[in-house]
Amino acid sequence: MSEQPLLTVTIDNITIQVPAGTSILQAARKVGGDVAPPAMCYYSKLEGSGGKCRTCLVEVSKGSEKDPRPMPKLVASCRTNVMDGMEVKNITSPRVTDARAGVVEFLLINHPLDCPICDQAGECHLQDLSYEHGKEGTRYEFQRRTFKQHDLGPYIQLHMTRCILCYRCVYTADQLTNKREHGILDRGDHSEIATLIEKSLENNFIGNVIDVCPVGALTDKTFRFKNRVWFLKPENAHRECPDCCGKVTLWNRGDEVFRVTARKDEWGEVESLADGSTAWICNTCRFEKKKSSDWVIEGPRKISRHSVISQGHYEGKVGTTVPTEIFSAVHGGRNPKLLMDIHSVSEVNRPEIQLSQIAGPSTGNDFTTGKD
């Protein structure tokens, strides 16, 4: 293969060289850290994905060496290729952070925010996105949309209300299986993923839609409500599988295997194998092999120390010591009253007095009524 010319691109004032045909997002991931824009729909292993969620918008302040004009609109970094001499602003652009906060808000207005009962919580990209780029609180005051429930069979649980229509599962079903039976129905804000007739998705690789789903729309039914991901300890393991690579992550509690997933890289995507192919796993490995004895354990999986998943495992790392004495320590040995029942310490906020019933500015008399 002949040597490809390298293009120079500057992202958030960091200059790197990448081969021609690299997208801005891929270039930014090479830099890593906060410079890499978040991606909710783009998935480097799925052809045609990206461009839809608009979370990866960046500002191109200089088009290229040849044509230095800035691009007038923010562009989707996942689907825009690097030009030689291009200058890109991601977190250094107020326009980008503003637009991204807007996208987060849009994605959340119809999202149920049922994280406390959602199996995806803890490894949800929408949670991460909201935490990093969103604003607290919402300005949306209307009913959130709901859908008719669809049963996708014994393995996959669909919660359409949580879906952000990234289309990843559609590409997965299309590109990993030999028959197209999964798609998007309807239009606009009532679009949904489902097969029209309630047909289970029967294909040995269809389980991978669970791994690509950025939210809790498609989850593992065999793991449903069984445990929280942060209580589980991920381990790399493998087995001789006639259908797939057999390289997986086991999620254990004690010796019990709670679920099996593909191995994911730091961007949340299924890892590549040594030969460059993607380590998708088959349904048998994912759903049927739930005993430790089915697997050859390779050892604990490295998890980013900031991830909620790393909390509670691995002695001596983050999150193992409970900060019990912090309050009294910072308050000079005093336990603040704020942690107590308000009624036991306050004469004013008595439970039998309805504050909302008091007309106009309240006076001390309002609170003494009924008191002897």
């Binding site: 798609g183 129905l185 239009r187």
Partner: protein
């Protein structure tokens, strides 16, 4: 059982021939129109599966398309579907009164069908007849410059045609 007549199958073949070899999926929209007109004015999943087999595509590809476009009815509709435009320019010319009048006269709300299965009322978005507002689509044609009297006349006309057909 859903099946096109020989005549309709020839029409399908003619439509498919408009597109390059191997691109028969392009014929999906026109063939769905034909299927809807032929099989009772709406598309059942059986009809859609049949169209998929005719065009040698997967059923989901038909469902995706049929649910995207607003002209395909996915539930049974009345014999006569009043599709009254309610977008800006029609609103300026009083389409709300027309919709209200039809609702009263037929005793159905938008999206509903009369008990005798004759009429369905639908409110739709801009049909491109803004200069002739208020208007509605009835079958293949537009009925424009609607007034209450015209609506009465149209309803009477539909009832008459239906009676004659029976």
């Amino acid at each position: 059982m859903v099946k096109f007549s020989e005549n309709d199958l020839a029409k399908v073949q003619e439509i498919v021939a408009h597109y390059p070899d191997g691109k028969q999926k392009s014929a999906l929209l026109p063939v769905l129109h034909l299927a809807q007109d032929t099989f009772g004015g709406w598309l059942s999943s059986e009809t859609m599966d049949y169209v998929a087999s005719l065009l040698q595509i997967e059923p989901i590809e038909v469902y995706e398309v049929a649910t995207f476009y607003s002209m395909y009815h996915l539930k049974p509709v009345g014999k006569y579907v009043f599709e009254v435009c309610q977008t800006g320019p029609c609103m300026l010319r009083g389409c709300d009164d027309i919709i209200q009048y039809i609702t009263q006269t037929l005793g159905i709300r938008a999206g509903e069908t009369t008990a005798d299965g004759l009429f369905t009322l639908k409110t739709v978005e801009c049909l491109g007849a803004c200069g002739y507002a208020p208007m509605m689509q009835l079958g293949k044609y537009y009925r424009e410059h609607l007034t209450k009297e015209k609506v009465d006349a149209i309803i009477a006309e539909c009832r008459k045609t239906a009676a004659e057909l029976n």
